[in-house]
């Protein structure tokens, strides 16, 4: 049973909370640090930076990842950029503005103190990355370059072409490598955490499957850090890597860790549309493209003319129309719903009518004119120069689009459609990033705290590195200081043996079923169900339906799935089966959370709770009809789910969100 949920937010003015907290936090003597052992699961931005930094401080660190190398974590795929409140552009940015934009972007459902801290350390992150040699774009004078991103009216995003995620991850990976080479971190690639081990109420280790030999082993430590990413793959089709899963976080939930706001899923407005039923994933077209690309659909329903045949007057630049102040850089939840609405009205483009245009024609002409510098050049020459500039800014993204669709974004508008991209929900953590299970820390996308109901672009990279480089290293001592060094349980403790047995038993069960349907078939079915019933638009009806269908699908899985091969070898189907089995339980939690949150906010849209034409907020022009309508009186809180048993409904606790500085207001991007 969970007692009172204590976020441990420090007292005092918002701007000083973090500084004061660092001073008040327990320190561990350097000669004692090396007696403490920490396990870090996940080697993405949050995991690699945490593992490297904890090792730099002197802790014994073991790091685990399911991929063949820590550098393969899905952070690598992030494209557009990372925010930092440096105000290098002199356009009005500040820590406070980044903080405010992020809280507003999260639709006033994030923890204010955590977000302020995030904005504060954002400047340190940029410095640390530069120090590690991350090749950020530079201006001609040698200074760092910036660009704009969604939900902000300042240019605060630092980038490395269209592969900022890769470069930031390689920076953290390089630090991790240095520590591995120095013998300070033991790295375990191709290893999957399948169970959390809790001893006397504290997280003291994990059970891991070696994905090459199949061997199940235990590792014990003084603290466990989960940096295992998001659960977007519950929808099967998403922008996640194929291996991304919820297993580590879900196992922790089943051992008593609260799971918060699982229904806060982010759908990104510009991804390459689905082409066929065999499709295995969706590819993101970075939000940075919307600095220059214009989103539009035909004004008339059923207009099947080719894009270049549709004159300007027949085009609906719907984001510019609906949200003039932010235009094409309106936040993702707002932009995705606008795209969906246009397609639902029959004005979508491309095969199947589920697509909108992302058009660079005007940008190419504009850049061409700038390059011509007032000289009178033939249009073809200006277009050529404009294309060169667009290529310099976004080249690899255009190449990727071409590889996948065989179309050129330079010659015709790109076709895009919303797709699952990020999950704001995650395991609950306090201000120290510790879960309600003492000794269990959760970082990056795997935790819930900083992005509320909608994450702004370029802030996931920021949060992962904030948590790993700067927050956890300062806060972990508060827990470790309460635990005697060198007193952790050994791996032959009863709890470890029980966890290993449970893991082996589950593995054998999956292999023994030998039914008729493949794991992927079940995964696709679950994914489609969740997308239709718990996707961009949710209702009591759709969610109730989902809640009755998922248990049926799950029961069928455990009777009819076919997992070929054996446990003691590299067995991809077995790996997938375990993850899908967890999604089949987790999906239910997500729908339950969506049902219980009877309001709309950020990425969580309940059809029953939206602004209508008659509302004063619409009439006064603050929001559009159809925008989300929050219920701050009843739902300005974090939903914290507690697992009771495999058959009973989980318990919903709440952490009230108390805003000291920001006043939750109508979220207007007009």
């Amino acid at each position: 049973m969970i007692g009172r949920i204590d976020s441990k937010i420090p007292s005092g003015p918002l701007e000083s909370k973090w500084e004061n907290h660092k001073f008040e936090s327990k320190l561990i003597n350097p000669s004692n640090k090396r007696k403490y052992s920490v396990l870090v699961v996940g080697s993405g931005l949050a995991g690699a930076s945490a593992a490297a930094t904890l090792a730099e401080l002197g802790y014994q660190v073991k790091c685990f990842c399911y991929q063949d190398s820590p550098r393969r974590a899905h952070s690598i795929a992030a494209q557009g950029g990372i925010n930092g409140a440096k105000n290098y552009q002199g356009d009005g940015d500040s820590v406070h503005r980044l903080f405010y934009d992020t809280v507003k972007g999260g639709d006033f459902r994030s923890r204010e103190a955590n977000v302020h801290r995030l904005a504060e350390v954002s400047v340190n992150i940029i410095d640390q990355c530069v120090a590690l040699g991350v090749p950020f774009a530079r201006e001609y004078g040698g200074l760092l370059a910036n660009r704009s991103f969604g939900g902000a009216q300042v240019s605060r995003t630092f980038y490395a072409r269209g592969q900022t995620g890769q470069q930031l991850l390689l920076g953290a990976y390089s630090s991790l490598n240095r520590m591995i080479g120095a013998g300070s971190v033991q790295m375990f690639p191709r290893s999957e955490m399948l169970e959390l081990v809790v001893v006397d109420g504290h997280a003291k280790g994990i059970v891991v499957r070696d994905m090459v030999t199949g061997q199940i082993s235990s590792y014990s430590a003084d603290a466990v850090v989960l940096a295992t990413g998001g659960y977007g793959n519950a929808f099967y089709l998403s922008t996640m890597a194929k291996g991304c899963n919820v297993t580590a976080a879900y196992r922790a939930y089943k051992k008593g860790a609260l799971f918060s706001n699982p229904c806060f899923t982010q759908i990104h407005p510009t991804c390459i549309p689905v082409a066929g039923s065999y499709q295995s994933k969706l590819t993101l077209m970075s939000e940075s493209l919307r600095n220059d690309g214009r989103c539009w659909v035909p004004k008339k329903k059923g207009d099947t003319r080719k894009a270049h045949e549709i004159p300007e007057d027949d085009r609906d630049y719907y984001l510019e129309r609906m949200y003039p102040a932010f235009g094409n850089l309106a936040p993702r939840d707002v932009s995705s719903r606008a795209a969906k609405a246009a397609c639902d009205e029959g004005r979508g483009v491309g095969p199947g009518g589920f697509g909108t245009y992302l058009d660079f024609h005007d940008a190419i002409l504009r850049y061409g004119r700038v390059a011509a510098g007032g000289a009178s050049l033939p249009e073809s020459e200006m277009v050529a120069r404009g294309k060169e500039k667009v290529k310099a800014l976004y080249g690899n993204l255009f190449d990727m689009y071409h590889q996948i669709t065989a179309e050129s974004g330079y010659e015709q508008p790109m076709r895009v459609y919303p797709a699952v991209h990020y999950t704001m929900g995650g395991l609950w953590v306090d201000y120290n990033l510790m879960s309600n299970i003492p000794g269990l820390f959760v970082l990056g996308e795997a935790n819930f705290s900083d992005h509320g109901a909608n994450r702004l672009g370029a802030s996931a990279l920021m949060q992962g590195l904030a948590d790993g480089y700067f927050v956890l290293p300062a806060t972990i001592g508060n827990y470790l200081g309460t635990v005697a060094p060198d007193k952790r349980p050994k791996t032959d403790h009863a709890e470890f043996r029980a966890a290993e047995e449970a893991t082996k038993e589950r593995t054998q069960r999956l292999l023994a079923i030998k039914g008729k349907k493949t794991v992927d078939e079940f995964h696709r079915e679950l994914g489609l169900l969740l997308w239709d019933l718990c996707g961009m638009a949710r209702s009591e009806k759709s969610l109730t339906r989902a809640l009755s269908r998922i248990p049926t699908l799950r029961a069928e899985f455990w009777e009819n799935v076919n997992v070929p091969g054996s446990a003691d070898s590299l067995n991809v189907a077995l790996e997938k089966a375990g993850r899908v089995a967890d999604f089949l339980e987790f999906g239910e939690l997500m729908c339950l959370d969506a049902l219980e949150r009877r309001e709309s906010c950020g990425g969580h849209f309940r059809e029953e709770f939206q602004y209508t034409e008659k509302d004063p907020e619409v009439l006064s022009g603050k929001v559009c009809a159809g925008d989300v309508r929050r219920d701050d009186a009843n739902f300005c809180h974090v939903a914290c789910w507690e697992h009771v048993s495999d058959t009973a409904k989980p318990l919903r606790h709440t952490e009230p969100l108390l805003y000291e500085v920001v006043k939750p207001a109508v979220r207007s991007y007009r």
């Binding site: 930094t53 730099e56 991929q67 063949d68 190398s69 550098r71 393969r72 899905h74 690598i76 795929a77 930092g84 440096k86 290098y88 340190n124 410095d127 640390q128 530069v130 120090a131 590690l132 040699g133 090749p135 950020f136 774009a137 530079r138 040698g142 760092l144 490395a160 995620g165 890769q166 470069q167 390689l170 990976y173 390089s174 630090s175 490598n177 240095r178 080479g181 790295m187 090459v212 890597a241 194929k242 291996g243 066929g276 065999y278 295995s280 994933k281 590819t283 590889q403 996948i404 065989a406 700067f470 290293p473 493949t518 992927d520 091969g565 070898s569 590299l570 067995n571 991809v572 189907a573």
Partner: protein, 251 residues
Amino acid sequence: MNLKLKVWRQKNRNSEGRLVDIAANGIPAEASFLEMLDIVNDDLTRKGDEPIAFDHDCREGICGTCSLSINGIPHGPSETTTCQLYMRKFKDGDTIYIEPFRAKAFPVIRDLCVDRSSFDRIQQAGGFITARAGSAQDGNAILIPKQNADRAMEAAACIGCGACVGACPNGSAMLFVGAKVTHLAELPQGQPERQRRVLSMVAQMDKEGFGNCSNYYECEAVCPAEIPATVIAKLNREYAFAGAKDTVGVE
């Protein structure tokens, strides 16, 4: 389209492997190569056979996990990685050879999966700048000329897939090592460790059993990240100077 696959199957590191004929039927042209293998694997599973094991993750060309040699060429006829190869590049009735990347330093683990930890060990030996978290100065304090920043970015784009090694008749990793050495040598932050970095990384590269470059340029031809072979020239220069300085005892 229907295709005739010849796929390398190998039970584990210590077993013999061989090419096996497998039919791929009813494959849509818009499907990716890996989606084609997914369809084949579904078929194999339904028939009670074991699916083909192959490494992949992001399926969008950036993580470097996928590592198939298709008709003898790492990543096949793709402009970038295996996962970004689409079946429209093939014709109905084609025979396609699918093998793991071949190199002594990339032992096969199972079927098409190889062990590329040799790459990680090279990076662990020196592919980094020593900068403890929290010790950095303001990001704009060091001016980096745009051309250096661009060259560093160009070299830093390496995704660590190992296609270069698989393509090289000598099994050389010099494009991979050259890329990291170039990236960090172009930047002011990389200067303090410039000498020892290249010596340590090359020493580890040799220890892992990679071959040496003899100017085939097959690596550059298959590299999905378009790393130019000039990074090998840079590597050779860096190594020569560092070696010479090291021998004479100067910095």
